[in-house]
């Protein structure tokens, strides 16, 4: 089988960080090729080099056997390379159509081409079973939809080599399945797919070959058929990773979070949450399962005091340690007040809400905790931050780096580390392991369980049933803004949960 892409001795350095270290491997045409590796292993960088976004310091790239110098994305596109970035590359307040046209408008006067292109796109959409409103503004779309736009974009440019950087990190299982259907279609048409992901089951499910990267280099290239999750994990992390974590028996204390009849209605009058009733007790992990976009995010935002500014309508009561939480009042500092009550919060969209990209790492470690002392002792802060980075194996281990210089996953670790270190009474966790490598997943899970055993009440929102099974003591299933069911971990049952997520009541 001819090779579609071959990397030869690719190296790339960013300042002190060696992102890619003499990477060499090749990708066969018409296959789905997986790339896995720890956070910061250099996967995105390598792909960005292939797509002409970065330039390799040394080494060369062969496309279909020909050595090519790819100076910019334009040339990459010319070579039939398409990429769906880890963080989407869409212009927020333009329409889907405009975003897809961008760079391939077909002529100077848009009006005369809009109709034609729209036609072609509609056809592509039903060929691949993509549901997309072409005239919708990007900033009105969910991440899943945005990703479909990205893919449609590549289809329209009929890319022969499609790169997907952690496409499934933000997708629901259903969406992921839909994506894979499309990828398989791709493969049938003899196109090549490069898939970066941290979810080994996906690798096993869909790829033909898999390359494992660590610390910027390639540590293994395997036939998916002849490997298994344990081997991959081992090669990736460099040590064996236990899949099942030991858990002590539940010893739940008194109620920490008490939610009664909570309702939320946005300005448009849409009911986002209706009549939620539940409680979380000290020392237990309550997980909220559900297809994302069914109100979990809103619930977390309310509890974290981040949703009282945009004129929504609320009803019901929320108690934290039997202290009435006045979450309806317009008060920008509510989040800070909650932290004083011992609430810490790992937001779902960590890179948007949880960090200040321009700040250094140690300054980010302070975010949310800044209210503690009037005078900030820099030395102390840095020491503390260094300790955390070491504890959570953040790479590169340097508190003075600007946060934006860290890789996506490492940025996420920072947020988790900070919130766990805050020694909360109640911890709100949204999608804690999204975009994080398994080694880290394991560490995060261990940390969360430790907190639980230390008597912290934890409310966990996750789209990963596996994760819920590994952590939860009780499971609430949400659908359409309502709690459609509740069950104890003892009687965990995937199909039942699936039904409840679908909105079927008991």
């Amino acid at each position: 089988m001819p090779t579609a892409v071959e990397f030869r001795h690719i190296s790339k350095r960013f300042g002190k960080v060696l992102a890619n270290d003499v990477v060499s491997f090749s990708i066969a045409q018409g296959t789905i090729h997986g790339i896995i590796g720890e956070n910061g292993a250099g996967k995105s960088t390598l792909m960005s080099i292939l797509y002409g976004y970065y330039h390799a310091d040394s080494g060369e790239i062969l496309i279909n056997g020909q050595p090519q110098t790819i100076r910019n994305s334009h040339e990459a596109i010319q070579l039939g390379i398409g990429m769906v970035h880890q963080h989407f590359m869409l212009v927020e307040d333009m329409t889907v159509l405009d975003n897809i046209m961008l760079g391939m408008e077909g002529g100077f006067r848009l009006r005369s081409h809009r109709a034609r292109i729209a036609g072609e796109l509609v056809k592509l959409c039903d060929d691949y079973g993509l549901a997309i409103k072409l005239d919708a503004r990007i900033n009105t779309l969910s991440v899943g939809e945005q990703q479909r736009v990205e893919i449609l974009k590549q289809l329209y440019r009929n890319a022969n080599i499609l790169i997907l950087d952690e496409p499934t990190a933000v997708l629901t299982p259903q969406e992921t399945e839909a994506l894979f259907v499309i990828l398989r279609l791709f493969k049938q048409q003899g196109k090549t797919v490069i898939l970066i992901t941290h979810k080994l089951p996906e690798i096993l499910a869909i790829t033909d070959e898999v390359t494992v990267m660590r610390a910027g280099g390639v540590v293994a290239a395997l036939q998916t058929a002849h490997t298994n999750q344990e081997e991959l994990a081992h090669k990736m992390v460099g040590r064996s990773v236990a899949t099942e974590l030991p858990r002590q028996a539940l010893s739940a204390g008194n109620v920490v979070l008490q939610v009664e009849d909570l309702c939320l209605q946005n300005q448009q009058g849409v009911h986002l949450l209706s009549h939620l009733n539940f409680s979380v007790r000290a020392g237990e992990i309550v997980a909220i399962a559900g297809v994302s976009g069914n109100g979990q995010s809103e619930l977390l935002e309310i509890l974290a005091g981040m949703r009282n500014l945009n004129g929504d309508k609320f009803a019901g009561t929320v108690q934290i340690n039997d202290c009435q939480l006045n979450f309806q009042k317009k008060d920008a500092t509510l989040a800070a007040k909650l932290r004083k009550l011992g609430v810490s919060h790992v937001p779902e969209d960590r890179l948007r809400d949880g960090v200040v990209k321009e700040f250094t790492v140690w300054e980010n470690i302070l975010l949310g905790q800044q209210t503690d002392q009037i005078y900030l002792d820099k030395k102390k802060c840095i020491a503390a931050s260094d300790a955390l980075l070491r504890q959570f194996e953040v790479r590169p281990l340097d508190s003075h780096l600007r946060l934006s210089q860290l890789s996506g996953g490492n940025q996420q670790k920072i947020v988790l580390a900070r919130e766990i270190a805050a020694q909360p009474k109640l911890m709100l966790v949204g999608q804690p392991t999204r975009g994080v490598d398994i080694g880290t997943i394991q560490r995060i899970h261990t940390e969360l369980l430790a907190l639980r055993d230390a008597g912290v009440a934890i409310l966990l929102v996750s789209a990963e049933l596996e994760e819920i099974r590994a952590l939860a003591d009780r499971i609430l299933v949400m659908s359409g803004g309502c709690i459609t069911g509740e069950l104890n971990i003892a009687d965990y049952d995937t199909t039942r949960i699936g039904l409840l997520m679908g909105g079927l009541h008991k």
């Binding site: 300042g15 002190k16 974290a304 005091g305 981040m306 500014l309 008060d331 920008a332 500092t333 509510l334 989040a335 800070a336 007040k337 909650l338 932290r339 919060h345 937001p347 948007r352 809400d353 949880g354 960090v355 200040v356 990209k357 321009e358 700040f359 300054e363 302070l366 975010l367 949310g368 800044q370 209210t371 503690d372 002392q373 009037i374 005078y375 900030l376 820099k378």
Partner: protein, 368 residues
């Protein structure tokens, strides 16, 4: 940007290189005007730094720019571009004058001065409040509102001075001269060497404010909130930082700084309030803040630079009659361009040079 470069290179070598290039262009201009650049530079430096009195004047001018620079800087830290420092300074002057005209007969210096200073700060802050408030509550762009408020200030002050302040029978559109009690003590009363320079207490005050600014912004939780809010609205909400509070308070402080800048000119040197006395100090403040990268030391250095240009420039055009004063306006522009906007021009070259040198050393060690 140039993370590869050591600090001494980014903070010392690059600025010097840039200053040098600006000077070269300026030299070209002076040469074309038919004067010897070397001689001109000599005169300029000598009159600005060479003799102690000149230095006094340089620092006097710098003092004003430090304050306006601070005013612009703190706003920038919160992501606000306050173009209104000039108007705020103008109003600050009014506040100061009102207090002084009211009490310079009755109060002794050491109670009058702080009162006057407070007056300046309050009026400056007040003039910055509305733009801040509108930005915070209505989202109306602070750049626009502050520009507008500059114009409004000009009209308002023109009206007030002409209708209420001019002593009858006077020609000069200005208030009456303050009584001696309201004259800020000049430093030459302690350091006679300074000679006849208007350099006054405000300078000390400015240094103190620089320090305070540094601590406030980088070492207090409030400064942290300020910078966080300036960088990311989402993160601010997450951390429970009220952006609107930050915006309003910051604008108040910014305006207060600008207002106090009037102290130096009015109570320190002129001793009366006159039409358009700021002559653009607020706008120079923008340049100072940007060139100084909103860092206390940077602000001081660039304020000093402008002081040198003004002081040296005036003497130079006194000596060399066919160099019109406007030439130095042009040179100011050049310096801002090279040192402020093209600060990284030499970074790549310098990096390469340093790499070479390192390489050499490495080899040298090998041979040894």
């Amino acid at each position: 940007m140039n993370s590869e470069l050591p600090r001494w290179a980014t903070n010392v070598a690059l600025p010097l290189l840039n200053l040098l290039s600006a000077m070269l262009v300026a030299a070209g201009v002076i040469y074309l005007l038919g004067e010897s650049p070397i001689e001109a530079l000599g005169i300029l430096l000598n009159s600005a730094l060479g003799n102690i009195e000149g230095l006094g004047y340089t620092l006097f001018y710098a003092t004003t720019f430090i304050f306006t620079g601070l005013s612009v800087s703190i706003a920038m830290q919160a992501g606000l571009f306050n173009i209104g420092s000039d108007g705020q300074m103008y109003l600050g002057g009014l506040g100061l004058t009102l207090v002084i005209l009211q009490f310079d007969a009755s109060l002794p210096t050491w109670t009058l001065i702080p009162l006057a200073m407070a007056g300046a700060a309050v009026f400056g802050a007040a003039w910055a409040f509305l733009p801040g408030y509108l930005q915070a509550k209505r989202g109306s762009h602070v750049v626009v509102t502050t520009i507008m408020f500059n114009f409004i200030a000009a009209s308002l002050m023109n009206f007030i001075i002409i209708t209420y302040m001019i002593p009858t029978g006077e020609q000069n559109p200005a208030s009456r001269v303050f009584a001696e009690t309201a004259w800020l003590p000049r430093l030459n009363s302690w350091i006679p060497a300074l000679g006849d320079t208007p350099l006054n207490l405000t300078f000390i005050c400015a240094l103190f404010c620089l320090l305070a600014y540094g601590v406030l912004v980088w070492r207090t939780r409030w400064g942290y909130a300020l910078r966080a809010a300036g960088k990311s609205a989402h993160a601010a909400l997450y951390a429970g930082i009220s952006i609107s509070t930050v915006v309003i308070v910051t604008m108040l402080i910014s305006g207060a700084f600008a207002g106090v800048a009037a102290m130096n000119m009015l109570a320190g040197s002129m001793h009366y309030l006159s039409l358009n006395f700021t002559n653009g100090a607020g706008f120079i403040g923008i340049a100072v803040a940007l060139m100084g990268r909103q860092h206390p030391v940077g602000i001081f250095m660039s304020a000093l630079l402008f002081g040198i240009l003004i002081q040296g420039g005036s003497d130079l055009s006194l000596e060399k009659s066919n160099i019109p004063p406007e030439t130095f306006v042009f040179i100011q522009g050049l310096i801002i361009l090279f040192c402020g906007a093209m600060e990284n021009m030499y970074a790549p070259a310098l990096t390469r040079v340093l790499h070479l040198m390192r390489g050499r050393k490495a080899q040298g060690e090998k041979h040894a």
